[in-house]
């Protein structure tokens, strides 16, 4: 009796509820999200952004290799300038694809070996520590003089003595040209080894995508380690890097204002701000899928989160505008333009909150790099 009346009550409840729903037509404008094609989104990411991104990177590294060979054959300010142009091209291209740290890039630890950021879990306490975008010049010099080194080592000193940190030191560091006049053979050998290693890493990752592509575009899950999960996590992670090692930590945010100027990214080339701007605008471009109508931002719109999407895009623009007020080299702007740096930092944090909390929540993606039970 009781049971039956409960069932009846519930049925009536549901019917009444839906009746009300129809008659009041509800405050939310369009409650049914359009059927969004996630496979199309991922295909677009793979074919129009990620894979072309890696092939451009491959071409730019080839150009860098040519320029560096010319410099190593005849070190001069002219050949050095040519290397600088080619390297800047490579590094700018790298930060455009830095957000794709999954699949082949993750397996081959591309980011760790090419552009080690020191990880997010390290504190900036003293300048002598290998943190952030440090350059380990003593290990580099040791490697050159001994002539033996293992670039596949996972130690911090190994990671800070190859990739972009090593290129910065070897080609643009203090007395770079003069240093090639002593122990020339070993120094040239090391410089070539560094560039060859970067090239082989990028080649491996680019080739890896030919097989990984089908796995990437067909997995439409959102759990930890899924393509969509990875993309959303990378948006947050890249902004976290921007807020931390790229700008905030060298700026002394963690350390009561003590600056770490030499830990700005690409310190000797002096292009930190350009890299930060390029990273952020590439991230915005990735977020919108290059305006293809199939990007993450379109997914948000399909999920009835158009207002959120508008706010995220606007915040990207605000943060970019603030960053553009900070001139390169960042290492001197940290003191000469501290107000502008602080402004940019604040806007980056707002963008981080939007991506890490609002976007992640709206897309049911967990910002966590581990899987775990939950309820």
């Amino acid at each position: 009796m009781k049971k039956r009346s409960l069932i009846i009550a519930l049925t009536v409840g549901i019917v009444v509820f839906y009746a009300c729903k129809k008659s009041t037509s509800g405050p939310e404008p369009s409650p049914t999200p359009g059927a969004f094609d996630k496979v199309a989104m991922l295909t677009d990411y793979a074919d129009k952004i990620i894979i072309p991104g890696y092939s451009t990177m491959q071409q730019k590294i080839l150009a860098l290799q040519v320029a560096s060979d010319a410099f190593l054959a005849a070190p001069s300010t002219a050949t050095q300038a040519a290397v600088k142009t080619a390297y800047t091209d490579v590094h700018l291209q790298y930060v455009r694809i830095a957000a794709f740290q999954f699949g082949p890039a993750e397996t081959n630890l591309l980011d760790v070996f090419a552009n080690f950021s020191g990880g997010l879990d390290y504190s900036f306490t003293t300048a002598g520590q290998l943190t952030g975008f440090s350059i380990d010049s003593s290990t580099i010099e040791n490697n050159i003089s001994s002539g033996t080194y293992d670039l596949t080592l996972m130690s911090r000193s190994s990671l800070y003595s190859q990739g972009f940190p090593a290129i910065n030191y070897l080609f643009f560091g203090p007395n770079a040209i003069a240093k090639f006049n002593s122990n020339t053979a070993n120094r040239v050998k090391y410089a070539k080894a560094i560039i060859a290693r970067l090239k082989s890493l990028v080649d491996t990752v680019a080739n890896g995508w030919t097989t990984y592509r089908s796995e990437f575009i067909s997995n439409t899950k959102t759990n930890a380690g899924s393509p969509i999960g990875n993309l959303v996590n990378q948006f947050a992670y890249q902004i976290d890097l921007l807020k931390g090692p790229r700008i905030g930590w060298p700026f002394g945010k963690q350390s009561n204002g003590s600056l770490f100027v030499s830990k700005t990214e690409a310190y000797f080339a002096g292009i930190s701000t350009a890299l930060a701007i390029e990273n952020l605008s590439a991230l915005k471009n990735t977020f919108t899928g290059g305006g293809s109508g199939k990007g993450m931002s379109d997914y948000l719109v399909a999920l009835n989160k158009a207002a959120l999407n508008t706010d995220v895009l606007a915040q990207f623009d605000v943060a970019l505008a603030k960053l553009r007020l900070v001139p390169d080299p960042l290492s001197s702007s940290l003191t000469s333009h501290s107000a502008e740096v602080d402004q940019a930092y604040k806007e980056i944090q707002k963008l981080l909150t939007l991506l890490k909390t609002d976007v992640a929540s709206a897309t049911a993606v967990q910002i966590t790099f581990v899987d775990n039970d939950g309820d």
Binding site: P33, T357, D373, D375
Partner: protein, 453 residues
């Protein structure tokens, strides 16, 4: 009326019921726990949850609980796994169940981060099992000490498990009776569009009506399933529904881990003794009571029956009261999460946050922004960013940590943004409050900013 549904005499605590119910429960629960512990190990969570973190969010009153070091933690897990195995086979059952309860609960008390309703449920069931004569038949114990064999147990020993299970379902159902769940189909409307990869049903996951269907069906299921399980006529169908429902939740939400299987296994307790005897007859070496001729010691009697009965009364009273304690707190329960845990609120909301802490010295000359990743694992940070008591504990930890680093009278300020059930993120706590000076208390935290719809 009720007589038709079940024998009213079974409500008398001492009424003898066949022991088979407890035997199958012991075997199923024990083996599921054994497998769960192995799974936990295999997935590397022993290390990532109890060894890697530098700091643990302790439970108030249990600050003395610490992970006992690398080997200690692994040894503890080994001990608990072994105890689960002993429970299954009924060997040194009383000791094994005490070890399992104490060990499992100790592990759970290490870090609030890992709180899950079904871990709490496991602790409670383990606690109940300590008192029950679940080893008095078809166990190694009675093989070794045959005169301990019993064929009937007091109805209360089965009743208490049924009560516990009913409580979980009904409170889980009551928790769903809120506007977000029923009127806005939240958080289903967020979670389901992320499930379009599922075969066949995937294409419907963008449909709003599906989210409503899931929400309403889920609430009705939780509220009513116990009554259908208690009714002899509806029981087989109800149990089919239990299996379908929980398998579906396991497919839709793989992250809920062992919970569906725990509920599927435990709900068997609602079946009759005859069913359980039938089930046991498929087990090797099982001899039914008809095959064993025995005249004395037929029915198990609790040694201090009356004391136990009073204890059971208190337990039941507390179990009903604890999930209701949220009524004593003002404001939005999902936002404040005061009185939220230990209340069977399962898969109820989508909540996430970003936290930025700043440590300042007393005269505000020094200012340090905290890098959470330096102290917390990603999981700990994620859990902390939406739960006020964890935020406060972390702030206190930061004050200690920065004091050690030489900051005079450190003050801790939090700029914290939280998004709830698809809403936009908003400021969660008063960022002008020095959290280091705020006490941990059972009272409402005034520094939580009210939720704005």
């Amino acid at each position: 009326m009720t007589g038709r549904i079940f024998n009213i005499k079974k409500l008398i605590p001492g009424y003898p019921v066949p022991i088979a119910l407890l035997i199958t429960f012991r075997i199923f629960f024990g083996s599921l726990m054994f497998l769960s512990i192995l799974r936990f190990w295999w997935r590397g969570w022993v290390t990532s949850l109890y060894i890697e973190p530098k700091f643990h969010f302790t439970y108030t009153g249990f600050e003395w609980v610490h992970p006992p070091g690398y080997w200690g933690v692994h040894l503890l897990f080994l001990l608990v796994a072994l105890a689960a195995f002993f429970i299954t086979v009924g060997f040194l059952y009383r000791i094994a169940s005490i070890v399992f309860f104490a060990g499992f609960t100790y592990i759970e008390l290490i870090d609030v981060t890992t709180y899950l309703n079904h871990y709490y449920f496991v602790s409670l069931i383990a606690f109940i099992l300590i008192w029950l004569p679940a080893n008095r038949n078809y166990s190694l114990d009675v093989l070794l000490w045959p005169d301990k064999t019993k064929h009937f147990v007091p109805a209360s020993s089965v009743g208490i498990i049924r009560f516990q299970l009913a409580l979980v379902y009904i409170f889980a159902g009551l928790a769903k009776l809120n506007a977000d769940w029923l009127l806005h189909a939240q958080p289903m409307r967020i979670w389901l569009p992320a499930k379009t990869h599922l075969p066949i049903i995937g294409i419907y996951m963008y449909e709003t009506w599906v989210a409503y269907l899931f929400s309403w069906f889920g609430a009705a299921y939780d509220l009513l399933i116990v009554f259908f399980l208690l009714n002899k006529k509806t029981r087989p169908w109800a149990y089919c529904l239990v299996v379908i429902f929980h398998v579906a939740t396991a497919i839709f939400f793989p992250a809920i881990g062992m919970f569906p299987y725990v509920m599927i296994i435990c709900s068997l307790i609602f079946f009759s003794a005859r069913f359980h005897e039938k089930l046991l007859s498929f087990f090797p070496f099982y001899r039914s009571r008809k095959e064993i001729l025995q005249t004395t010691g037929y029915t198990y009697r609790f040694r201090y029956g009356k004391v136990l009965l009073v204890g059971m009364g208190i337990y039941i009273f507390l179990q009903v009261l604890i999930p209701l304690r949220f009524l004593l707190y003002p404001g939005n329960l999902f936002w404040n999460e005061e009185g939220y845990r230990f209340s069977w609120r399962v898969m109820l909301m989508e909540k996430s946050g970003s936290t930025y802490f700043t440590v300042k010295d007393k005269i505000h000359q020094q200012s340090f922004e905290v890098n959470n990743a330096e102290f917390l694992t990603p999981l700990q940070e994620k859990m902390m960013s939406t739960q006020p008591d964890m935020i406060l504990k972390y702030a206190h930890f930061l004050a200690r940590e920065y004091k050690n680093r030489g900051v005079q009278n450190p003050e801790v300020y939090g700029e914290i943004y939280v998004a709830l059930n698809g809403g936009r993120s908003q400021l969660f706590v008063d960022s002008s409050i020095n959290l280091a000076a705020e006490p941990l208390t059972w009272k409402h935290y005034e520094w939580i900013l009210p939720y704005k719809k």
